[in-house]
């Protein structure tokens, strides 16, 4: 099966998408092309030939259009690189029909900004081991378009529970405390737009949660050209499964909104239920820079929102530094407290 590559209309070299200029650049002739320019020149999708199954489990075989090299791609990859000529190859049969994303947010952050983001997120971490934030520790840095389901709905939600109202007053001889208990009900109408859930089991959901939110005003109609220079995945989490996660998140928010400033303290929630209306699910690709950092034979994963630049990751801490810090703070606090207790 042939993979598809975007070619420079001038010199036929492979093109890469530039997040800063939001154009496609040919690294050979320096040509700069907009989406419209590419759409004029793009070949139509070729018909898919019969797949040749590889011996490797869950891997399909493709041939690079430029150099003819064999490319192995797992079942969920929709854009990858040729290991020989390094060109981006788009596996278009994985971007069509039900796997065709509706929208995409193109990358606005570059690889260099991802490295800077990594250094920045490590700054100020007093307990970080020395040299952890050295860019030399970054073993792999990849721009990936991650498949996401965006879920929207309206929700009528209701909570019930028991709440108390307390009042106090005093006479010359006693202080009185009166506690009134009520059965409390509260309901509301809520509308949620584009709750994201990542549609790939390959990527850690907590990592994808942590780089939220994305600015959906940057969503554009999907075009495979945006994938040039980046990896991408198709979803392997079905819409209905993703929807359940979104609904749980929406319900949790409804509960928080209804029980906040309810006017009873304490308020003990007993029951909650809701009705969902006007559901809508869209399949989109969102940009993420994934960094794998190796330090002392251990791999640490960092992720940067390829649109907003928000970088997250778990930074290791040095036990020696933690103990040393504890001792310093203890000593200083102890001396200050001795002085205070002496003076007072």
């Amino acid at each position: 099966m042939k993979a598809v590559n975007h070619k420079c209309p001038n010199c036929n070299a492979s093109l890469k998408y530039n997040p800063k200029s939001k154009n496609w650049i040919c690294e050979y002739c320096g040509g700069i092309f907009s989406l419209k320019d590419l759409e004029k020149n793009e070949n139509k999708f070729k018909n898919v030939t019969e797949k040749v199954k590889d011996n490797s489990a869950d891997m399909d075989e493709y041939y690079c259009e430029d150099c003819g090299a064999k490319i192995l791609a797992d079942k969920n990859t929709s854009a990858t690189f040729c290991v020989y000529c390094k060109n981006t190859v788009l596996l278009k049969n994985r971007l069509t029909d039900k796997f065709a994303p509706v929208k995409i947010i193109p990358f606005t952050k570059t690889k260099e900004e991802a490295i800077e983001g990594f250094k920045k997120v490590c700054k100020g971490k007093l307990l970080m081991p020395k040299e952890f934030d050295d860019p030399k520790n970054i073993k792999e840095i990849t721009g990936v378009y991650i498949p996401f389901w965006l879920y929207s709905c309206d929700m009528d939600y209701k909570i019930t529970g028991k709440g108390n109202r307390v009042s106090t007053w005093s006479t010359s001889d006693y202080i009185y405390t009166k506690t009134d208990t009520y059965q409390v009900e509260r309901d509301g109408q809520f509308s949620f737009s584009n709750i994201p859930v990542d549609g790939s089991t390959r990527f850690n959901d907590a990592i994808m949660n942590s780089i939220e939110p994305f600015d959906y005003s940057e969503l554009v109609d999907f075009n495979p050209s945006y994938l040039a220079g980046f990896l991408s995945e198709k979803y392997d989490v079905e819409a209905n499964d993703a929807k359940k996660i979104c609904i749980d998140r929406a319900k949790e928010s409804c509960c928080d909104e209804l029980s906040g400033d309810i006017g009873y303290a304490p308020f003990i929630l007993e029951n909650k239920n809701g009705e969902i209306k006007d559901e809508k699910t869209d399949y989109v690709l969102l940009p993420v820079w994934m960094l794998n950092v190796k330090y002392k034979d251990k791999l640490y994963t960092f992720a940067m929102n390829g649109e907003t630049g928000k970088m997250i990751g778990d930074i290791p801490y040095s036990l020696k530094k933690a103990v040393f810090t504890w001792i310093i703070i203890f000593t200083i606090s102890f001396l200050i407290m001795l002085f205070i207790t002496y003076v007072i």
Binding site: S172, D173, Q183, S191, F192, I312, Y317, I329
Partner: protein
């Protein structure tokens, strides 16, 4: 013009105030009854029998010898000072009761005019008899006063005071001493236990905060960022009344001086003579 008037008024008050204080003090001294301080028992209200008076005197002498603190009992029918507190303090100060430079001692006043029992402490006695111990003494003497057995009330005063004197300085005043002027002064000492505990808590908490800042990956289980606030409609909560419960706590009333300040476990104030006193009382 307005500022000038205010200036003159303030200047006048500052100049006159010391004289007024001295005038008050002189007047207080003049209308304090003069007694022989060696007698110790002054039954102006004629509440004690001769035998009771003798018994009280013996107890007082024993107390003074044993504890090097003065002790006296006064009963009055009429109070020309207004309050039992003022009478007791002026009686003690202007008759020059008290042992040692700091005038150590205590006095019980049974005021039949105000129907009040009042105990005043001076010097070292302020350390021995904190508010809690004074309450206990008052508990013991109040009972007898309420059944009009004033002799037993006074005897109980000296007996209970002796018991506490055996125990020495009250724990609540362990960080204080009395200077030569009879003033309670806080000892300067550092508290090692509290310092260690606070330092431990602070260092552990701060280190924990530093470590938690290293964790950047956090799962999210709500969708607040995706809620359309304009389309949100939340109705007022409806509460259906179920039950009610009312409890009450008694307010403890004591005649401890509201103008006094707290020193350790003792409420301290200054009499008209300027001497520092502890004390407390109860109506009967």
């Amino acid at each position: 013009m307005k500022n000038k008037i205010i200036f003159f008024i303030i200047t006048f008050l500052l100049l006159v105030a010391p004289f007024k204080t001295v005038a008050i003090s002189n007047s207080a001294k003049e209308n304090t009854i003069k007694v022989d301080t060696s007698k110790k028992i002054y039954d102006f209200a004629d509440l004690f029998s001769d035998a009771e008076e003798k018994n009280l005197f013996d107890k007082a002498v024993t107390y003074i010898k044993k504890y090097d603190m003065d002790i006296a009992v006064v009963t009055i029918k009429e109070n020309n000072k207004g309050s039992a507190k003022s009478y007791a303090e002026d009686f003690y100060d202007y008759n020059d009761f008290g042992e040692n430079k700091s005038k150590d001692g205590l006095i019980l006043l049974i005021d039949m005019d105000n129907r009040e029992l009042w105990i005043t402490t001076t010097g070292y006695a302020q350390l021995v008899y904190d508010d809690g111990r004074l309450e206990k003494i008052l508990d013991d003497i109040y009972y007898y006063a309420s059944i009009e057995d004033y002799g037993m009330s006074a005897a109980s005063f000296i007996d209970t005071a002796s018991r506490f004197a055996d125990l020495g300085v009250a724990d609540s005043n362990s960080n204080y001493y009395v200077d030569d002027n009879g003033e309670m002064v806080k000892k300067k000492s550092a508290n090692y236990l509290i310092s260690i505990l606070v330092a431990f808590a602070l260092s552990s908490f701060t280190t924990y905060i530093f470590i938690s800042r290293h964790k950047g990956i956090r799962a999210v289980n709500e969708a607040g960022n995706y809620l359309n606030k304009e389309k949100t409609r939340i109705h007022m909560p409806m509460g259906h009344f179920l039950t009610t419960f009312t409890s009450r706590v008694p307010i403890v009333h004591n005649s401890f001086d509201s103008t006094s300040s707290s020193h350790g476990g003792s409420s301290i104030s200054h009499g008209s003579s300027g001497t520092s006193h502890g004390g407390g009382g109860r109506h009967f």
